[in-house]
């Protein structure tokens, strides 16, 4: 298809799976952390904020190496997870998803946090005076009003996950069909003489997916804005 090698297609499919899983799995945590950072005062708030943002400022290779140390077969968490649940991250697509999720997490949290901070806490108070329990307030008021931020955050995270390279290749290497994501594949094809064509096709696919995600987010955001009138 499109004159692409099976290897290249595998990379595209794997990248999509890795990015979707990374986004979906980190979303609930992202919503929770964003809400906590925006609304709650608790000891260690600044520390949490720092940790969340760390992947944004650390060299990706460093993040990847830290992941390898922690979640690798010999790492404390990795060994525990493998022994207890049989989940293995090292040199596995799940590891690529973990790396992508962690690298994309700051972007997701920032976008959601902005939407929480833009929200008038008075609306939640109003819902409470109308008889809503905390959970109901969250589900009927807070969460729907966070939706634009959640959409933006998810799409940003997805796009970032699609493009993640440094941490992924350090943590789970570049094994075709197993851990070779789209950017790793582009990198690999560029190393092979005469494979630039494949690399360029992959680049175009990558651009198309990114643009598609961006357009989707614009459409959804505009629909949400229209529903809420001028706000």
């Amino acid at each position: 298809m499109l004159g692409l090698e099976p290897d290249a297609w595998q990379a595209v499919a794997l990248s999509l799976r890795v990015s979707l899983c990374a986004t979906a799995a980190s979303l609930p945590i992202g919503i929770f952390v964003a809400y906590a950072l925006a609304r709650w005062e608790f000891p260690g708030r600044q520390a949490l904020n720092g940790i969340v943002h760390l992947p944004l400022i650390l060299p990706p290779v460093v993040t990847g190496y830290l992941l390898l140390l922690t979640f690798g077969r010999q790492g404390p968490v990795g060994a525990f997870l493998e022994a207890t649940f049989g989940i293995s991250f090292a040199f596995n697509w799940t590891g690529a998803a973990l790396a992508a999720a962690i690298m994309a997490f700051p972007l997701m949290v920032r976008a959601i946090r902005l939407s929480v901070e833009a929200m008038d806490p008075g609306l939640e108070q109003a819902a409470a005076t109308l008889g809503a329990s905390s959970i109901r307030v969250f589900l009927t008021i807070t969460l729907p009003l966070m939706l634009p931020g959640i959409l933006t955050g998810s799409i940003l995270a997805f796009a970032k996950a699609m493009g993640e390279f440094g941490a992924t290749i350090t943590f789970v290497s570049n094994i075709p069909g197993r851990t070779q994501t789209l950017p790793s594949a582009v990198y690999a094809f560029l190393q092979v003489p005469g494979a630039e064509g494949t690399a360029i096709r992959l680049v175009l696919i990558s651009v198309a997916i990114a643009m598609g995600a961006l357009v989707a987010s614009e459409v959804l955001a505009r629909r949400a804005a229209r529903r809420m009138g001028t706000r």
Partner: protein
């Protein structure tokens, strides 16, 4: 229904320390910004936990810090109308209206129709709050609070963010609410004209303390309360009944002291009204004036007066069974020999009374 409030709460500039019980009807919490009005209302709603206090509606205790008793806002059944409306932007007007009722499981289509009708909301039901004007939003907010079946309605400066025209659009709805719903209302305001139109009882607050509590007509015509209200804002209420409307655009009203001619009033003959007469619109004369353009000359007697620190003075006069306030100069007080018991005439220019000063009695 009586609402009992005892609160102590340290604030940045002063300590709020109030203890009062309100009779049925509309109770206005009145005072300058920062007098503690909103703090009290928030405490009643449970949105603010006071340092100590006890709040009850009739026999229902809402909180008592001595006994460590506290009811969360969702269980208090108080309808809170915020200054900024606080409509849920992602829900239509109808969904906003039904939010509280759905939660309480008391949705009653007949009641819903009644409230929609009372507040004139039928044209907006399927619109989103973002497309409504400020006045429309406030009406929806009032309807939403009403439909949650509250025991008490809290109106926290619901008109403060609106321009005079929008205010005039909502005030009749509030008057109807007062007269028809039987729901006790705690109304926060710093606008004397609103208080004069709506309140049955006034709680005058100053720096966190209750300065005075009493019937609206009494408090608003008390010269000693003028500094707290503000001399430019002071004005008393006259009870009046519409007699007839004249062809020249004036309406004739009966008061306890005589007839009053005012610019066309919209109410039908026989209706009772409350008319707010601003203190600076009243002229006093010792003799019955002749050849004067002012149409309203009511016989009066000086009851009390309060000399200001500056050149001004506030004179309270009795006209029939009502009391008026006149803001004049200290010089005139001396020149006319105005002292308690002195007979005089109160002169009111018809055109000085604006539409916003006239409310349903």
């Amino acid at each position: 229904m009586t609402l009992s409030i005892r609160l102590r709460h340290a604030q940045s500039e002063f300590e709020l320390d109030v203890d009062f019980t309100t009779p049925p009807g509309v109770t206005a919490l009145f005072g300058h910004s920062g007098a503690g009005k909103t703090t009290i209302v928030q405490a009643v709603a449970g949105l603010l936990k006071p340092d100590s206090g006890r709040i009850s509606i009739d026999d229902a205790l809402l909180e008592d810090s001595d006994r460590g008793f506290w009811t969360p806002p969702r269980n208090r059944r108080v309808g809170y109308v915020f200054q900024d409306g606080r409509l849920f932007p992602h829900m239509t007007v109808l969904k906003n209206l039904r939010y509280g009722a759905n939660l309480a499981g008391v949705r009653d289509p007949a009641e819903e129709d009644r409230v929609v009708d009372l507040l004139g909301l039928s044209d907006y039901l399927h619109r989103y709050p973002g497309t409504l004007s400020g006045g429309e939003k406030q009406r929806v907010a009032i309807g939403r609070a009403l439909l949650s079946r509250p025991r008490l309605l809290l109106l926290d400066e619901p008109l403060a963010a609106l321009d005079p025209a929008r205010r005039e659009e909502i005030l009749p709805h509030l008057e109807r609410l007062r007269d028809n719903s039987g729901l006790p209302i705690l109304y926060v305001s710093h606008a004397p004209s609103e208080v004069a139109r709506l309140a049955t009882t006034v709680v005058l607050l100053e720096r966190g303390k209750v300065l005075k509590l009493g019937p609206a007509s009494e408090i608003l015509s008390d010269p000693q309360m003028v500094p707290a209200i503000g001399p430019r804002e002071a004005g008393a209420i006259l009870a009046a009944t519409v007699i007839r409307h004249h062809d020249d655009g004036l309406s004739e009203l009966q008061t306890s002291a005589g007839t009053l001619l005012l610019p066309a009033v919209s109410a039908a003959p026989g209706r009772s009204l409350r008319v707010r007469i601003a203190a600076h619109d009243v002229i006093l004369s010792r003799e019955a004036p002749k050849g004067l353009s002012a149409l309203n000359i009511l016989p009066a007697r000086v009851c009390a007066l309060r000399l200001g620190d500056g050149p001004g003075a506030i004179v309270q006069v009795e006209t029939g069974t009502d009391r008026l306030l006149a803001r004049i100069t200290r010089r005139s007080v001396v020149a006319l020999g105005l002292e308690p018991g002195a007979d005089c005439y109160a002169i009111i220019k018809s055109v000085a009374v604006a539409r916003e000063d006239i409310g349903r009695g």
